[in-house]
Symmetry: C2
DNA sequence: GGACTCATGTAAGCTGTTACATGATTTC
DNA sequence: GAAATCATGTAACAGCTTACATGAGTCC
């Protein structure tokens, strides 16, 4: 499942412009997938070339022109096929956990900062997820996805809160390293 | 934090061969980072060229020759700098959640399969994490990282178990799509 | 006047995956 | 005899990020 597939899937639900797809990605997928304009626009052009989507240009009054994309029947078939054939999997990339892994090499003060930042980040994410789960327009699958996200982040936050004191209290200041040559 | 940084960090802890680094990655980082030989070997060569690690070749008796890498003082300084400057962040890429998001477009039977696969995958991951947290060699930071992983996966699994019946019971078989032309 | 939103796109580059190539030894 | 483990590496490709380019309108 790459950006191209996600664009096709989004267009299955409703016609969109590239800009709207980006906004939708942020609102709907941001807790399990990300994508920038630099990958969305080329993906849409590629899909159009392959005949999986169709484009029509709308003249913007006072605003820039927009290209509105619709999925074709072939596009629908391709998306359904890749959806059913995709193996479910999850992969986390956590710089926070890397930092924890090597935390004994870090100054205590920086470690404290990092922990605090992460707590705040978790709280923000939770707030966001709780705000969207309350909306009543979700399908059962979407709702489950959000609930899994909430439970997961909530558990991470609680574990961090519970153990951070031990981490910081037992932390030994590492010997300073010579950075003058860099 | 890329593969190159992680190699450097691993070599900070002890001298290793590329092959050993891969094994260590699997054992220690696999729940928050992955890397294959195709990125580790080039990374080590790059680090050697930059003077951040040193190599010596060991003749293998009955086994292939090995290249053992050690970090240099400059390498240590570079790693400590990038460790303290890295902003803590986490990013999930979940094809499972994508499937859930579009689950109303999938055949019920496939959805049931996907949910079961994911349950098993979570259980395996939990088993693995619980087996390593019991070892007593971990630093406080490493232990916290593992505990966060356990809490997180555990929460995901429980949420899935709790809501999957509702998901499957309310699921409507979507109209079949014409796949003959593909 | 500056920042932000709307709107689309390109190009360079970084990073990583996958497949291939080699080859000996050990285990089933 | 087949498969797995040990051991290193390259080359092609896929995929995404970042920065740049353009330009009008709106809000403070």
């Amino acid at each position: 499942m790459n950006v191209s597939d996600l664009c096709l899937g989004t267009l299955y639900l409703s016609d969109c412009t590239g800009y709207e797809i980006k906004k939708l990605f942020e609102a709907a997928f941001s807790h399990f997938h990300t994508a920038g304009f630099g990958s969305i626009y080329p993906a849409l052009n590629k899909l159009a070339k392959a005949g999986l989507v169709e484009v029509r240009t709308e003249a913007g009054e006072g605003k820039p022109d927009r290209k509105r994309y619709s999925i074709t029947e072939e596009g629908k078939a391709v998306f359904l096929l890749s959806l059913t054939q995709t193996e479910p999997g999850e992969q986390l990339k956590s710089d926070f956990q890397v930092i924890l892994f090597f935390s004994h090499l870090m100054p205590t003060e920086r470690l404290r900062q990092v922990v605090e930042q992460m707590e705040t980040a978790y709280q923000h994410k939770l707030g966001y997820l709780r705000s969207i789960v309350e909306m009543e327009c979700h399908s059962e699958g979407v709702r489950l996805g959000i609930n899994i996200g909430i439970a997961s982040i909530s558990a991470r936050l609680e574990t961090l809160k519970k153990h951070k004191h031990k981490l910081l209290a037992n932390h030994k200041e590492p010997p300073q390293c010579d950075l003058s040559s860099l």
